[in-house]
């Protein structure tokens, strides 16, 4: 049974390889937000442009165990926090990962499934691909799904989470800003418009809350676009971060709002994942 859940989205900067400083930023945001659930951006604890340092900052993770090394400082946080870091898998492969942590202990790990390796992105060179998507129990009876940046641009993943019953999809991103000359409706970058379109469409299609934490700051000439969002289950934007500078967005996940969004249309009730799976198989698209 869901109960109202105060949440926050922290739009943070991060410095590559400066683990202590990044942890301090996350801890400070959690202290200021003072909510049961806080979402931070992709690789919020390690920085993004790691390249060959990926293996250096990677750490092993195990459900129920304390976060290792400098990340153990997150034990001082009273609520749940979703942080981005590099997991060193049992196979010694580094994974771009989101970790749901409670009092410094690992509650859930979601690896990034789609690694952008085109244009300015080179993640396939440094990270292994995740192979599984699993919603996880959040405080107050909510069921959440986690996606990392590029994963949000593959709508099948949001579909899987929605079909599995997720009420809220948490997206952690390190999306660069593009198109300063065109500008955006709500900020400096035209590129933020696409993210908002995807977030609002996802929320409206599946009647779920969408939380998007995109980072800010500059690495290697690239400005990260900010523009974090909280989108309600009807597709309306509840809160929006600016395109520059850290920010803290607040909202309360409301079960009554969720129920209203899922009436009178019953897309969720009538959806048939088995049909989708069968047709993908029949068309030779799914082994």
């Amino acid at each position: 049974m869901r109960e109202s859940l105060p949440i926050a989205v922290a739009q943070l900067d991060a410095r590559p390889q400066e683990l202590d400083g990044n942890v301090a930023r996350g801890s400070a945001a959690a202290g200021e937000a003072s909510v049961p659930l806080l979402l931070t951006p992709e690789l919020s604890l390690t920085g993004y442009d790691l390249r060959d340092a990926t293996a250096t900052v990677a750490c092993p993770l195990a459900a129920g165990e304390p976060l290792p090394g400098p990340f153990a400082a997150l034990a001082d946080i009273s609520g749940h926090i979703v942080v981005g870091l590099v997991e060193r898998g049992p196979d010694e492969v580094p994974y771009n990962a989101l970790v749901l942590a409670e009092r410094g202990r690992v509650r859930h790990v979601q690896r990034k499934l789609y690694l952008p390796t085109y244009g300015m992105f080179d993640e396939g060179r440094y990270f292994g691909r995740g192979e599984r998507l699993q919603p996880v129990a959040l405080p107050n009876g909510w069921l959440g799904g986690f996606l990392i940046c590029e994963d949000f641009w593959h709508p099948g993943l949001a579909y899987v989470l929605a079909a599995a019953g997720a009420d809220v999809i948490c997206v952690a991103a390190a999306a660069p800003g593009r198109g300063v000359w065109q500008g955006g409706e709500h900020g400096d970058f035209a590129s933020a418009e696409a993210w908002e379109l995807i977030a609002r469409t996802t929320a409206a299609l599946y009647s779920v809350y969408v939380l998007l934490a995109n980072r800010v700051g500059v690495e290697g000439g690239v400005s990260f676009a900010g523009g974090s969002l909280i989108v309600g289950p009807t597709g309306d934007v509840v809160a929006r971060g600016s395109s520059h500078g850290p920010a803290l967005l607040h909202a309360t996940l409301d079960p009554a709002e969720l129920a209203r969004a899922r009436r009178p249309a019953h897309h969720g009730r009538d959806d048939r994942p088995a049909l989708v799976a069968r047709e993908l198989q029949r068309l030779g698209l799914a082994s």
């Binding site: 300015m120 198109g179 500059v218 000439g221």
Partner: protein, 154 residues
């Protein structure tokens, strides 16, 4: 940081960028004892079509020359760029064609089709001649959808 070509009109904008990012005391007009990074004032037009003097940082390198001229007139291109712009019908026409190729990702013949045929040939040759230099240019802060040194690898 040492600003190359401090006399150029756009050097003022380059100086302000560096000063805002790093502090005025770190931006010099000439090399001084000790370590320093060179800063070039080349525009995106120049980085695409010519080989400017090497520099570690091109803070204006994702701004087309015609736009840069609007920010800090007068238009001050290197001689080869001026010749290409004259053939194209002006700096705006030249940059419009480059924008079609670099930012809109149109195939090169389609991108240059808006230029007079002789100008299109000259621009095509200049792009080809400078393809290695623009892959290894210095750090360019990203503003557009494709930026030399970051995600423009043709």
């Amino acid at each position: 940081m040492v600003l190359l070509d401090a006399a150029a009109p756009e050097s003022g904008l380059g100086y302000e960028w560096c000063a805002a990012a790093l502090g005025r005391e770190r931006v010099l007009a000439a090399p001084a004892p000790g370590a320093w990074l060179s800063v070039g004032t080349a525009s995106k037009t120049t980085l695409l079509l010519a080989s400017p003097a090497p520099a570690a940082l091109f803070p204006l390198g994702d701004i087309y020359g015609s736009a840069l001229a609007g920010l800090c007139p007068p238009w001050n291109p290197p001689a080869p760029i001026r010749d290409l712009a004259d053939a194209a019908g002006g700096p705006e026409a030249l940059d419009a064609a480059l924008r079609r190729w670099a930012d809109e990702r149109r195939p090169l013949p389609e991108a240059l089709a808006i230029l007079p045929a002789p100008a299109a040939a000259l621009v095509r040759d200049a792009l080809f001649a400078n393809r290695f230099a623009r892959r290894h240019c210095g750090l360019v802060p990203k503003l557009s959808s494709r930026t030399p040194g970051i995600d423009l690898w043709e």
